[in-house]
């Protein structure tokens, strides 16, 4: 793994490039779009394991942090969805340059899935495939889920008292009004059927909301399947709100999908 900073000099992004072993290297790569806020912290280990798994399939991987997240420049409250989409596009170009390859796919986790979806739809050249892991479809619902998780956690834990207004911070992460609005207006629930890139969805919950978007996915020509893997990534449970996410089955499904796509 090679860690480095890339992007504009005043807004450097942190990236970790995972090259495959030379003997097995293929001419394609994957950029992983991580979740945001507390889910980013929880999913980081899974992202590194995804990178190693993809490497074993000969795929180059770039794991990066959005502006205002992880080790990238900026304070937590400074990023916005528009900025993060540009960051992901910048990461795609960076992986092309450092690996010397043209075919880049995306894996998006939670809110990172929404970002990957937007990059896939808006940026050229299009990715060869996108893998979605528990995609967040609508920012409004995501904010609402985070607020609900926070309220349930506060009620259940004697030592967690959220004194900061939920309009300024959720689950420990502060945000600006610009960031809040950008998240609240993000909605990809109608974007699936129109996608022009092969895609695959892995979901850990099986709710009416999930079934509805999987049905929408099925109507699109580029839908390559969906897989329900229960109990592996409980994003909204108060008992595990700060646990590291470990989802071997989900990771295996995503790795196999990206390895098979040859567009």
């Amino acid at each position: 793994m090679n860690p480095f900073f890339f992007g504009p000099s005043n807004e450097q992004l942190y990236g970790a490039y995972y090259p495959p072993a030379t003997a097995f290297a293929r001419d394609k790569g994957v950029v992983i779009c991580q979740p945001i806020w507390q889910e980013y912290i929880r999913a980081h280990w899974a992202c590194t394991q995804l990178a190693h798994g993809l490497n074993k399939q000969g795929i180059h991987v770039l794991l990066f942090d959005y502006f205002g997240a992880g080790d990238s420049a900026g304070a937590s409250e400074e990023g916005s969805v528009g900025h993060w989409i540009e960051d992901a596009a910048c990461a795609v170009q960076e992986l092309r340059d450092i690996a010397g390859i043209k075919k880049i796919g995306l894996i998006g986790i939670r809110f990172g899935a929404a970002i990957a979806c937007k990059v896939g739809a808006e940026k050229k050249p299009a990715p060869f495939a996108i893998g979605y892991w528990d995609p967040v479809l609508a920012g409004v619902a995501y904010m609402s889920d985070m607020q609900s998780l926070q309220e349930r956690l506060e009620a259940a834990d004697d030592y967690i008292n959220f004194t900061t207004s939920p309009s300024k911070a959720l689950m420990g992460f502060p945000f600006s009004e610009v960031q809040r609005k950008s998240i609240a207006t993000m909605d990809i629930s109608d974007s699936f059927s129109g996608q022009q890139t092969p895609y695959f969805v892995v979901h850990s919950e099986d709710t009416p909301r999930t079934r509805e978007y999987i049905d929408k996915c099925k109507s699109g020509p580029f839908f390559r399947g969906a897989c329900h893997v229960p109990h592996e990534s409980d994003w909204l449970a108060i008992q595990t709100y700060d646990n590291i996410i470990m989802s071997p089955t989900i990771m295996d499904k995503l790795i196999a999908f990206m390895a098979q796509q040859e567009q």
Partner: protein, 304 residues
């Protein structure tokens, strides 16, 4: 401020971010470097990005720092050498000190750690003379008589609590002394499991006395939710360590309303400001330690 991604360590498998106060130049001479250690299995950005905020905040006061991942955590893969957690902690922290020293020229170090990071800070402070300071958040804790009175007292006047407290007391009596588990066993190729066990109190007290006598300054912070099964009141720190002569070098703070990782943003800002203030007050303009810069032989695990 400038940040640089670095790979270091005897096996070149440790990954971290070096934060320098000004681009391309080391910090003011004499200032110690700061090492920010992993909290459990959370990678080097820290809970809620706490380590990033601390590193950048203290860079503006002239301090260089390195936040890094121990092998098997975050961006650092497992090493090939088989070592105990204690040996690995010492070797990898010493490698981080060497890397920070190479990056900014500092000869002494302040360690900052939460939970397992606090445990590793203690071990290093006790074993490496280059350590001149330590911020320990929810480090080792030992029950005192008043702990039990505070914990079980309310149950005595409330019969509804007798059963639950009774069960808890039985569990404590029949459990391994003050052990806490952090992280869970992972299926398949999961992350390394971290089991937190507190060493005997007498050993810890002896080690603290040792590094205090050497001149190390320490800031001990405990949260209400950090380990309520063994720490539950403001003055417990000075009571559980009452035999230690702190010589005015130790500060203590109890955040009664905070959970272990300071999830509430306002409380976390208060915590980080307090740490930054303590570091600035105690180490700005500090001279390098006179005791040399190599580890003591007894704890020197690999040749340097």
């Amino acid at each position: 401020m400038m940040e640089k991604a670095v790979i270091f360590g005897p096996e070149k498998n440790l990954s971290g971010i070096l934060t320098l106060p000004s681009a391309g130049r080391p910090g003011p001479a004499g200032l110690p470097g700061l090492l920010l250690l992993n909290a459990g299995l959370i990678h080097h950005v820290g809970p809620y990005r706490m380590s990033v905020d601390l590193a950048r905040g203290l860079a503006s006061a002239g301090f260089a720092s390195l936040r890094f991942d121990f092998s098997g955590i975050g961006d650092s893969p497992m090493g090939k050498t088989i070592l105990t957690d204690r040996e690995r902690g010492i070797i990898e922290c010493q490698a981080a000190m060497d890397a920070l020293s190479a990056g900014c020229g500092c000869a002494s170090f302040v360690l900052i750690g939460l939970c397992s990071g606090a445990d590793n800070s203690h071990t290093l402070a006790a074993s490496d003379p280059r350590v001149c300071g330590m911020v320990s958040i929810d480090g080792y804790a030992y029950r005192t008589l008043f702990y039990y009175l505070k914990d079980y007292g309310p149950a005595l006047i409330n019969p509804k609590k007798w059963v639950t407290r009774g069960i808890r007391l039985l569990k404590i009596l029949f459990s391994v002394k003050t052990a806490a588990i952090e992280g869970v066993a992972a299926p398949g190729n999961g992350p390394k499991t971290y089991k937190r066990e507190f060493p005997p109190q007498r050993k810890v007290m002896k080690e603290i006395q040792g590094f205090i006598d050497r001149g190390v300054k320490a800031f001990y912070i405990y949260s209400g939710g950090g380990a309520p099964e063994c720490y539950n009141y403001e003055k417990q720190f000075f009571r559980m360590y009452k035999a230690i002569s702190f010589k005015g070098r130790v500060r203590h703070r109890y955040y009664k309303n905070a959970d272990h990782t300071f999830t509430d943003y306002s409380l976390r800002v208060e915590l980080l400001n307090e740490i930054k203030q303590w570091v600035k007050e105690n180490f700005s303009g500090r001279e390098p330690p006179p005791s040399g810069s190599s580890p003591m032989e007894s704890e020197k695990i690999y040749g340097k």
